[in-house]
Amino acid sequence: MTTTDKKTSLYDEHIKLGAKMVPFGGWIMPVQYEGIIKEHNATRNFAGLFDVSHMGEVYIKGKESLEFLESIVPQNLKDLKEGQAIYCQLPNKEGGLIDDLIIYNAKNIIDDVDYLIVINASRIEYDIPFMQKEAQNFGAEVINKSDDFSMLALQGPNSQYIIEKMGINLENQPKFFTFKKAFLDDCPVFLTRTGYTGEDGFEIIFEHKYASKLWNKILSYKDEFNVVPVGLGARDTLRLEAGLPLYGHELNENTTPIESSLGFFIPQEKDADYNGKALILKQKLKQTPLRRKLFAFVMEDRQIARNGYEVYIDNKKVGVVTSGAPSPTLGKNIGFCMIKFENLPSDLVAKLNNIKESIGTPIQIMVRNKLYNAKIVKKPFIKKNYKK
């Protein structure tokens, strides 16, 4: 931990709860309170409350806001209605990813703002200058609001009932991947139906001064709805089980969204040009070979694969584990790995390039200088429980 690590508005609350604090993306954050497995299971079965105030927020405004955003993400934003949100990526000129993000159409919701973007904490310093430079070609302004807001994630099947208790009945709650302005326990917030766990739930964005009040109010429902505070440790196992990528692990500047297995989110048809479009679309349409690809795997031996461990096929090194952990829900050890296609036999590449055929492919993971068996599986590892 260095003295430059920033504290969220809830730092004192975390200390009070006995959290273990660790540095993460320039912040000092809770990694666990009572235990990762307990927090993980509470989120899947009841509700978990996460301080995600380290996340960045960006406002986009100006008469060419839409045209600007369409030029920096592969997604079609023309049809994104007021209050709707969409998962997007931010490619560089070569099609590698600078970040992944969620774009909210904020027109008529946030005064004088066209879009709200939520970005990764560790990427704020890269995203903002990049977007500001790109915006110079458009009548659009990029405003970094990351220092102005705190953010909570309330995730799990009981989340909706907690939000109901705090003043917004079930019918009036935002639907999946939408957001609205609301009052929660008299605090003005942006309430979004999004998250990073594979469960139904909310993300709540608000001014710092409401942080402790909202945090403690939500946790006061612990007897009624079994809500517990959850740290980064369980956040990681929850997102991994849900098959969701983490920047710096599954996503990086040298890997396209297709190679990171996000092809599902990349539309084949888009009128506007965007950074990396030529390569990304060629890969999407299978007109050019992939250089590497991300796969989900399950360990067949008892060992746990970890970030950075080497991946082998037929005793030949082919790639690296990008994330790996025990899955509390499945009771198995799971992970993601990036397999390089160069120097692989062409029949194997063909098999790996076909999602259906790739399932079940045996791989080995090097754990403490020995190879252990694993196999490629379909992602996500668990069924998502979104309320759509």
């Binding site: 497995i37 440790g233 196992t237 746990i304 025990p326």
Partner: protein, 125 residues
């Protein structure tokens, strides 16, 4: 949790209890607390020998793998097989969930520099 009389602790957070030329070795309660939920353990084979400060086992929490070092030199005479399928026993009681028993090479000499439990506690806190 009972802290056994006479245990010595290393700065790398192993405890050792010597009796009748048999040394029982485990991980300190402080170390276990830092690791959190323990989900996997890899123990050495009976009959293998280790020098003091050599890695002899690996313990994994949900978040990370940690290497465990020999506090003394010797030959492994027994491993706690129960931990293979129930590593969480270490979380329940770090002192009853021993990892290995060792026939020490020279306990007198190797135990120099190991700390009594109270001094160890002062050191880590």
């Amino acid at each position: 949790m009972n802290i056994p009389d006479g245990i010595l602790c290393s700065k790398t957070h192993e405890w050792v209890l010597e009796k009748d030329n048999c040394a029982t070795i485990g991980l300190t309660d402080w170390a276990v607390e830092q690791l959190g939920d323990i989900v996997f353990i890899e123990l050495p084979e009976v009959g293998s020998t280790f020098n003091k400060n050599e890695v002899f086992a690996t313990i994994e929490s949900v978040k990370a793998a940690s290497e465990i070092y020999m506090p003394i030199s010797g030959e492994v005479t027994e491993v706690n097989e129960q931990l293979i399928n129930s590593p969480e026993l270490i979380n329940e009681d770090a002192f009853s969930a021993w990892l290995v028993k060792v026939k020490p090479q020279d306990f007198q000499q190797d135990s120099e520099g190991l700390l009594e439990y109270d001094d160890y506690k002062d050191e880590v806190q």
